[in-house]
Structure formats: C-alpha cells, structure tokens
Symmetry: D2
Subunit: 388 residues, 4 copies
Amino acid sequence: MPGQRSRTGVWLVGARGSVATTVVAGTAALRAGLAGTAGCVTEQPGFPDAGLPALSDLVFGGHDVACTPLPKRAEQLVEAGVLPHGLPAGIQDDLAAADAEIRQAPLPDGTTSQGDAVAAIRDDIVAFRERHGLARVVVVNVSSTEPVLAPHPAHDSAGALRAALAAGEDVLPPSSLYALAAITAGCAHVDFTPSAGMRIPALHKLAEEAGVPYAGNDGKTGETLLKATLGPMFAARGLRVRAWSGTNLLGGGDGETLADPAASASKEVSKQHVLGRTLGHPVEGEVHIDYVPSLGDWKTAWDHVAFDGFLGVRMNLQFTWVGCDSALAAPLVMDLARLTARAHERGVSGPLGELGFFFKDPVGTDEHAVMAQYETLRAFAAGLGGGR
Amino acid sequence: MPGQRSRTGVWLVGARGSVATTVVAGTAALRAGLAGTAGCVTEQPGFPDAGLPALSDLVFGGHDVACTPLPKRAEQLVEAGVLPHGLPAGIQDDLAAADAEIRQAPLPDGTTSQGDAVAAIRDDIVAFRERHGLARVVVVNVSSTEPVLAPHPAHDSAGALRAALAAGEDVLPPSSLYALAAITAGCAHVDFTPSAGMRIPALHKLAEEAGVPYAGNDGKTGETLLKATLGPMFAARGLRVRAWSGTNLLGGGDGETLADPAASASKEVSKQHVLGRTLGHPVEGEVHIDYVPSLGDWKTAWDHVAFDGFLGVRMNLQFTWVGCDSALAAPLVMDLARLTARAHERGVSGPLGELGFFFKDPVGTDEHAVMAQYETLRAFAAGLGGGR
Amino acid sequence: MPGQRSRTGVWLVGARGSVATTVVAGTAALRAGLAGTAGCVTEQPGFPDAGLPALSDLVFGGHDVACTPLPKRAEQLVEAGVLPHGLPAGIQDDLAAADAEIRQAPLPDGTTSQGDAVAAIRDDIVAFRERHGLARVVVVNVSSTEPVLAPHPAHDSAGALRAALAAGEDVLPPSSLYALAAITAGCAHVDFTPSAGMRIPALHKLAEEAGVPYAGNDGKTGETLLKATLGPMFAARGLRVRAWSGTNLLGGGDGETLADPAASASKEVSKQHVLGRTLGHPVEGEVHIDYVPSLGDWKTAWDHVAFDGFLGVRMNLQFTWVGCDSALAAPLVMDLARLTARAHERGVSGPLGELGFFFKDPVGTDEHAVMAQYETLRAFAAGLGGGR
Amino acid sequence: MPGQRSRTGVWLVGARGSVATTVVAGTAALRAGLAGTAGCVTEQPGFPDAGLPALSDLVFGGHDVACTPLPKRAEQLVEAGVLPHGLPAGIQDDLAAADAEIRQAPLPDGTTSQGDAVAAIRDDIVAFRERHGLARVVVVNVSSTEPVLAPHPAHDSAGALRAALAAGEDVLPPSSLYALAAITAGCAHVDFTPSAGMRIPALHKLAEEAGVPYAGNDGKTGETLLKATLGPMFAARGLRVRAWSGTNLLGGGDGETLADPAASASKEVSKQHVLGRTLGHPVEGEVHIDYVPSLGDWKTAWDHVAFDGFLGVRMNLQFTWVGCDSALAAPLVMDLARLTARAHERGVSGPLGELGFFFKDPVGTDEHAVMAQYETLRAFAAGLGGGR
C-alpha cells in the first residue's frame, strides 16, 4: 500500500523546462520499464545499499513562469531528439500528475514583497508535501542561469537578511528566494545551476539552524566534466598545462540565457574554478559560451589544451564533446534528489561536499578531481545505508 | 665521494634509440640544471620520501645493434625538435660516458645458441655493475616492438625452458633473452614495450626464484593514457560506451616497425586491453596504427567515442592527442628505473602491479583506471620510504 | 494530362536500400511541398533553364533482393533520423506506387546463365517503360559495393564478351549485368557506387554502339568531397601536402559491406584517386573504413593533413565530417537521374565526364577539383537547355 | 650588371616584425638556394610568364618603432621554429643590408603634425628609391592591427583631407599616414592587415589621381582561407549552412594586439565578410580571437559548421588548422609585392580586385570564393605578361 511506504517529493524550480520535463518523463519511463538506466549514477553498481528512495516513490511538483503543459513539452522534446519516439504516449498519466502539481511562480510585480514571495513559495511546497503525505521534499533549482550576484550587506548575517526582508527590501535574487523558502519549509535544497541559490552566508546560517542539507552548484555535464577528468591526469603525470581554451556552442534555452553576458559570466567563472584548483597553478586561456540556436537541445564543446612535456617540448590535446544537455542533466537531478533526500532522512545537514562529483563549483569541498569525487560519493552512499 | 653513495645502473636494451637517448640526455640535463622536471612523475609532490635513487646517482649503459654514437643521436633529436637547442653541448661528458658503456647486441647469426647469447648479455651487465661498483642494475627494454609471440612448450616451465636452451633450441624472442639475462644477473627488469620480455611463465618462475622484481608492459604515453583516464569517467557516470575507434599516426622508428602488421598486432592488442577491463563490457571499434614518416618523432592520435546517455540518446566525444613520443616516454623510463631499483633494494620481488600507472598492459594487476593506478602508485612509493 | 507530358523513369538497382528509399521518399516530399531543396544541386540557382525533367515527372521502379516494402523501409528511416517524423504518412501513395514497381533481382542460382539474367533484367526495365509510357529510363546503381573486379579476357572487347555470355560463362560482376541490361534496353546508366558497373572496355564499346550515355562512379558525399575541395586550395597556395590520412566510421548497410576487406578495397582505391590527381604528386597516408554499427545511418570521417609551408615549416589541418549517408546521397541520385536523362534526350552518349562533380572516381574526365567540376557542370547544364 | 636590370623596392611598414623578418630572410634563402618555394603562389606553375620582378631583384627597407636588428630577430625566429636552424648564418649579408634600410617610424609626439609625418615618411621612401636606383617601390603594411576606424568628415573627399592636414588636425590612423605617403611618393601600396590603410574615400581619390595601384586588406592565411574554400562547396552542393562558429588561438605579437577588443573587432569583422558573401544568406555563429602566449608564433583555429542536408537532416563539419602565422604570411607578402609592382609597371592603377585571392576583405571585388579568386588571379597574371 503506497501510503505505508515513505514517499519523497521533488519540487522543481523551473518545472516546465527541458531538464525538468526530462526528469519527470525519464523517471516515468524507468518506472514503466520503457528505458534503461544509462546516465543514472545511483542506478549503477555500488549504490543499491544506500537506502535511497526508489524511483517509483518519487512524486514531482514545482514552480514555473511558463504555462506549456508537460505532455506538450514532452512532445516537443521528442521532436528535438531528447526523448524517444512514442515515449509520451506510454507515460501520459505520470506527465499529467506532475503537471497538476506545478504552480505559477511568483513574479516580482512591484506589489509583492520578497518576504511575501518566500512565504507563498513555502506554502506551495508545504501544501504539496501534505497533499501527498510525503516524508520529505527536496527542492531542486533547474531554472535559467541568473546574472552574477551583486554583494549586499543583508547577505552577511541571518539577522540582517531577516531585517531587510521585514523592511520590504529587495535584496535576494530569485534563486535565493526559493532556497529560503526551502529552508523555512524544512526541505533539503539542490542548486543544479550556477545561480546564487543557497550561496549567501545568511542562508548558510539559516539552513544550519533549520537542520536541512543542501547541495550545489551547477551540474557538471560536459566541458567541465572533462576538465575535471583530464586535469588530474596531467597533474599526476607531471605534464605542465600552459593554456586551456574552450568554446561552448549551446542551442537550447540556457544558451539563450547565457548569450546575455551577465549570465554567461556566472557560468564562465564556474567553469574556470575546476582548472586552477586541480592543476595547482594558473593557466592561460579563455572560455566562451556561444548561443547557436540551430543546435537545438544539443551542445558542442571544443577544448584545446597546450602543455609542456619533458625538456619543455610543446604538445597539445584537443577534444570535442557533443551532448544533449537535458539528457545529460536529468539523470543527475534524479540522483541528487535521491541522495539529498536520504541524507536528510539520516539527519545530515549543511553543505553536502560529498556530492561534489555532480557539480562544477561544489559547495562544502575543495576537491575537483572527478575520480576522487567519485570515491568520496561512493563512501558517502555506503554510509547512508542501513536504518531504513 | 661517489664510491660511498649507493649508485644505480640503468641498462637500456635499445640504448641508441630515441627513447634511450632522450633518457640519457634528459637525466644529464636535470643534473646540470638545464631543464625542468615536466613529465617526471617521481619528481612531482608525493614521492620525495620514497628513498628513490637520485637522478645524479644513475649510471647508464646498454645494448644496441646500431652504431651511431649518442652525441650524434642527441644532435639528431635536436633537429627533430625532441631535445632543446644547445643542450648536447652542455652535456657532452654524460653523453660520452653513457656511449662508452653501450655494447654491441648479440645478433642471431646461426653460430651462437640462445643460451650463449643470454650468457653474453649477462656478462656485459655484470661487468658494467662491477666496473662502476653499482649497488644494483635495472634492465629496461626500450627497443623496437617485436611480433606477437607464438606459443612454445618450452615457455611453460622453468625446467622445459632450461632443457630447450641447453639443447641449443631457439625458443625465445630477443626481448626475452634480455629478460632472462637480467634474471641470471640478479637484476630487476622493466619492459617498456609490448614485446614478450618477461611475459613467459617459465621466466616468471625463474624471476621468482632469483628474487628479482619486474614491471611492464608497454608504456602508456598517448591514446591509451587517455582511454584509461576517460573510460572510468564514462563508467562512473553510467554513460554507456557503444564504440571506441582510434587512429594513431606515428612518424618515428616505432611507426616504421609497426607498419609491419605482425608487430602492430602486439600493440593493438595491448591498446585494447584497457577498454574492456575498464568499462566491463565489450565495445565496438577498431584501432589503427599508421606509419606516416613526415611526422618525424611526433604522433597524432584521434579517438572517437560513441556513447548512449539517458533514455538512449546518442552522444559522442572525440579527441586528438599530439605528442612527441620520446619526450613522453623518457621521463617514465627514468621513473620506472628509480622505482624498480628501490623496490629491489627493499626486497620486493616478482611482478610490480603497483606500477600499472605507467603501462598499457600492466603485469601483476587488473586495475586499468589511471587515477586508481595513481593512488596505488603513491601508496607503494610511500611504503618504499625509510630504511635508506 | 500526364500522358502528354514527357515522363522519365528512374530504375534503381538496390531499390529497397536506404539511399533508394530516401530518393523515392524525398522526391515525393518535394512534390508534396513537405520538404525544401537542401542538398539538391539541380534545384539551386543556375539550373532552371537546363530543360531537366521535373521532379513531378519522375517515375520510380527497380530491382532488389530484399523484400521489405518501401513504406516499412521509410518508417525505419524515420526511426533512424534520416526521414522527418510524419513524412511517410504524407506520401503513402508515392511509396506504394514505387513499391509496386520493384522486381525481384535475379540471383545467381547455378541454373540461370548470365546472358539470361541480363535478358530478364532488360525485360523488366522495358516493361516498366512501356507500362508507364515513359520517354526514357535511367538505370541507377545504388546497391552495395562489390569486391574489386578481377580482370578477365572477356572484358576486353564486345565480341569476346558476347561470345563468353553466349557460351554460358560467368564473366561479369552483378553490377555489370545491370549495366549491360541498361545498354540493351537503350537506357542511360549511372553508377553511384564504386562497383565495376560500366567500367569494362567491352561495355564502353556496347554503350557507344547503343548511343546511350553513362555516368559514374561512386558518389562523392563526405571525405572525398572535402579532399576534392581542400586539395586544390593547397595546390593553389603552393602548400606542399606531405601526408593525408583518413578514417571513416560507417554504421549503415554499406559499412557492413565494407567491413569485408575485398569490398573495402574498391572504396579505398576510389577515395585515393582524388588526391594524387589533384595535388600532382604522391602523398603519404592511409584510408581506413571501419564498420561501427552503433552509428546507424551516420558516418564520421576524420582526416589529418600534414603539409609544409614556407621554409619547410610543418603545419597541419584536421577535419571531422559528420553526415547522414542516405541524406547526402539521395539528392545527388535525383540530380544525376535528371541530368543523365536530359543528356540522353539531347542525344549525348558515352561517358559523361561533365558530371564528375558528383563522383569520387569520375569516368570521362581527369578533373578532380570540386569547384572546377562545378563550373564544368554548370556549363554542361546550360548547354542542355533549349529545345524542349 | 645590377644597374641595368630593373630592381624593385619593397618598403615594409613594421619592418622588424615577425612577418617582415620572415619576408627578408625567406627571400634571401630562396636567392641563396637554401629553401624551396613552398607557400609562394607566384613560384608555382602558371606565373612564369607574368613578367614579375625576380626575387633576386627585390630590395628591402622599411619603417618600424622597434630597434632589434634583423639578424637578432632572425635568431629569435629560429628559436621559435619559424626559420630553419642555421639559416641566419647563410644570409647575414642580406639581413644586414635590409636592416641598414630600416628607418625609425615617426611617432605621434604632440609636436609633429600628421602632415609633417606623411612628408617624413615619403622622404624616407623616396630616398630609398633613389639611393638604390629602383624602378619602383611597393609599400606594404605588415604592422600590428589598429582599432576599427572612427568616421571623420575629412575622410570623405581629397579636399577635406588636405584641408584638415593643412590645419594640423589629427584625422588619420597611422596605417593611413603610410598609405598617403606611398601615394605622394608615387608608390603602389599593399595592406596585409585589417587596418584602415587606403580604405578611406579621400585616399581612393588621391591614389587615382596619382595613378598608383593598391591592394588589400588583411592577408588570408588560416581560418578565413578555409571559410573561403569550404563555403563555396556548401553552396554548390545546396547544403544549407545554419551556423559557422570559430575560435582562433594566437600566440604571437598580433595575438597580443588582438587581445585588445578594439583591434580584435577589426579582425572579426574582416573574418565575417567572407561567409555572408559566399553563402548568400546570413548564418549564426561567432568568431573569437584569443591571445594565448604559450602558442608562440603559432595559431590554432577551430571552426564548427552546422548545416542542413536533404529533408532537413542536421549534419556538421569541424576543422582545426594549426599554422605558423609568419610562415603563412611571408610568401604572400612576397607574391603581393611582385604582382603589385608589375601591375604598376604595366600602368594599372586603383584597387587591384584581381588580387582578392590573398585577402580576407579584398578591395575592388565582391568575389570571396577562393578557387574563383585563383582563376581571376591567374588570368590577371597572364595579362601582365609581355612587354618587359
């Protein structure tokens, strides 16, 4: 009887976007036996004893400003080559059920204060949890990238933030309103984007007080995944990287957002963190993010790495990664929701550095080497086991 | 006074080849402060306490069938862009000293038995050790790739091998004559090529009896290094590799050898081991090795990886690695000589699986993931420390 | 009234293959206004006055050994991403009409002589022409690549060939049986594959006697198209190409055929013709064709070009071409059918060197530079104009 | 006796730069038989009857703000791999002779008016011509790229320009001062950079009045050469290019200049001209120019072309061009000097559109397709023949 099992909610901020739609459709496809587990980390060997919520026990809802229903969005993703032909027909009920749980995102309209917006978001999440009798809910940000956050004194302490919101000031970016709402609703939070989200000292403090775990930022699905894989090899071999240059061609919605230099700056900063920390010294080279609408939901990343070998001989490596952004991101969102929910269940709170494997710019850790992150993840998962 | 320090010999089979010349010249350059340590694994952080012989305590000698003196070979490598301009002038003494220790390799001439050839090789090595008062000698095979070994009953046991050699039979490939000579001289052995070398059961047994350590096979300097780096990432992410295809363009001497399909087969087998073991399932795709004389000492490898992401979406990665073969190989040979000598000094014998980090087809281990091999190597090096 | 217009037949050898199915479906899509003219050379500016048969006046038929109906094949190509979703539904009538005109290809069964097979093929073609009241028919070979042709004395003269066939000898490869049948039916012939087809002196003579034009061989749709485009640039700039190496990964049916080294040899020879003739000197480098089933109907070609610049400085170019084979080939087949039919109508006979733009190994010309071939093609098309 | 032969001067603006040094050294190397003609267009078949000045009849001089002597610069280029080892020793006399003809470039110092600067430049050129009894001099701009020119009313007519200069106004960029000096000295002019140079209406008029020919702008040596080669192929095949994206990594001096966004803008505009004009419709995609000092005198360009094939199937091409900038540019500068001098000799004046083969953004023509430009060039050269 479902009521007796412990079901877990996944509240998607940006619930009608390509990633969110792929998450809902993909989870339904796996439940229905219509797809394999490729790309799902927690479905690979090494995770079965972690006590993670089953895919069949996930319940989806979320906020969005867009109105296109999920079944229609799923059809669009079929056209785009992201979802297999014929899939939407086999999962209509799941798409409709998730669609029914999507609420209109509160928009800044000059009449609602940020404090009121946070309360409205929280109320939607709490109502979702109660309506379905969920053990807990993980709030996951999969919405568009925001511009780089400008500093503000209200970010520095919980008190200053509370005071500013009480005074009706606009001091938080949208992603952080959702993070704050998650905290006040007692929910775990995952930021899959480079936006500020929980990355404000005042929110760290509030999350700690509330005892909720959080993970982020910015899912590692392409160029940065390769940087974090190849960088440690260069370091281990003593090959000195002189320059690492990269160009990312993005066609999808995020490409359009990132065509705005302000948003792109967030992403580029995020992408460069990995190299300096992995190689231990600065390297030359720039990262470009270009919006190329013709590419649709696909992205192509080209990187060129100039390095010195023995006796200063100059050599190079270049790679081209061609991937479907939503198909790369969605299974990681599912992994993160399950892992974070389980951590919450086990009483873990604060930044989940052990989930750095999934992120370009991980909170709670300085480790950027992919395989080291993977070992940490497996150990963390093993530790989550038992007691369920 | 040098006589009081413990000096270590490095006996290079193929001592006038590009790799050997770069080893001798590079070691001299480092001693003289004329070059940095790029590409030298054991000169990076993490190895200083392993008690490895200092670069300044290495003494070089070896066998070759070629006659061009090392100073001349070094000039040729300057022309080829492998060694820096002006270097040979600064290290003339070291080049001349090593050249004086190179002996003519015994050639099969129909009059000398294999047993006699092994004895002659052993005598050259022992005389080298005594002449310089060396604590020990590591024999390193850096000669051209041999054809794939045909099985022979004399390979199966030490007794059968001894009997066959005593009877004057030709049962071993050249690389194994040197391996056997190393054993009988009480020397550690490293096979940096894909040739048979020590990989014959009878030799395993003899090495064990003699208490000597050995490492191999086939240095991992390009395409396979990347396979072993990227493969584990695909596995950790659950991305299913469908096909991995590769083309290697080689200009140098080994390219010419490998243009012979028989030798190339050795190399291609060696290159494919990594993938199957790392990914845990067979993948489509071929590996080509083309001889392209115009490339000189450089090699270019192009690999194309077709993989399935979530819901079966097809994606791909391609990379191009452009490297100077001798400059990639030489510092690893230096690393291996030092590590193997130290292991010998500490009483370690048999196959050194812990050195799998350096090899395409490592003996003594089933681990093929580069970063896991690196962790093993560091732990091994730490264990070698002390007691010196 | 269609009967009054001059309609043209296109008889496809390999009529149920991917290329043929795409030809039939694509022509129907263009007729129905369901697709644009991308990839169709003769639909671009410069050809409207050539008097070519209209796409709506083409009637399709052909031979195949396979039995899968065209509507089913079209659905398979939708799944493979070659045809747009929903297309087959809009062109059912055209697919069914073409399917009804496909005849079982005569198979060598030990009981039928080659002379009888040629007669049977000819009868099918003639019946097709009469059944539809066609002004003329062009026979186009789009079947799988055959092994390289072994020489035979019967190939050398029309008399020797006639005598051998009359004696019941098997002296021709299958592709040449169709070429001979086309000649005896008074039809123009196009060989889009590297198979022998018309490339036998005895057939040249017979085609000349019959006054039929023919074109071939081997459609230029990827790597070779780029060789023929880039090679002339290197020559014009005086940049000396030292080595041109290529690897072709093919997933489709032709990839499987070409996994047979005998067939692959045909193709590789064909691909190498272009370079030597364009650059005027031999170049190093090999061409590989690998069968990679995971790639489906797609192909990926990687080429590496090493060249010398001023004062001998070594430079290089590499490219990767990712294309859908059937989508690249089909519009060219349509172009060739129209151009060859029009040439036949205008009384042109013998080898159509002016169509070299379309072929890797063109008959009737030594020009291999793409843009020079294009100028020749446009002049030829202009000359075909008028009189219709 | 040299005095009886007609010798030609080449006045290099930026005479101590890498391109100029390679021009002087390369010409000397060819004269001395120390190098082949790779990369020299006018030394390939098709140009011997054009009556071009012989390489041995070229005399070099020029302006620069830098002071490093040419023999020293040549040694630096040997270190950088641009010039062959040992070359400078064989051509010391030629390097010294050219160095003796380099004059300090007039710098804007607040005390000299632009009119005076033009007069000073002109005097240096005229003195050079007279000192060597040269038949004529070609002024070639190979200096660093300037920022995009801001419009000014004085640019619009010869009268307005004369008046502004007479009034002591600063209205011209440096490159145009040299162009004006060339005109007033009665010399032909070539602009090998994207700078304004002669591209000001007032200068067109003055050049016409003076009867001098001029050519430009911006030598086509890498990415744009390939765009102009591949673009026409896509057009001829009817393949619809949707997006063409490019990243250029430059290490040399021009890379540093172009790291300044203002200068880079000149170059990027120049690079984009080709595509729109060749394809006949706008395409998506950006061009990046990154300064990567580690690359030294080398550049790497990566381009990604997304195109639609038949029935809208999406395909792509990517290429990577790795070249040595100075070695690509220098022989073209030699070609241009010879062709422009000969045109001047034959009485041709005004913009030399027939030399568009050499330029990214050619003056005097709208043709951007490389092979069409090449045919035009050959016809032009043939027309220059005779009468010498």
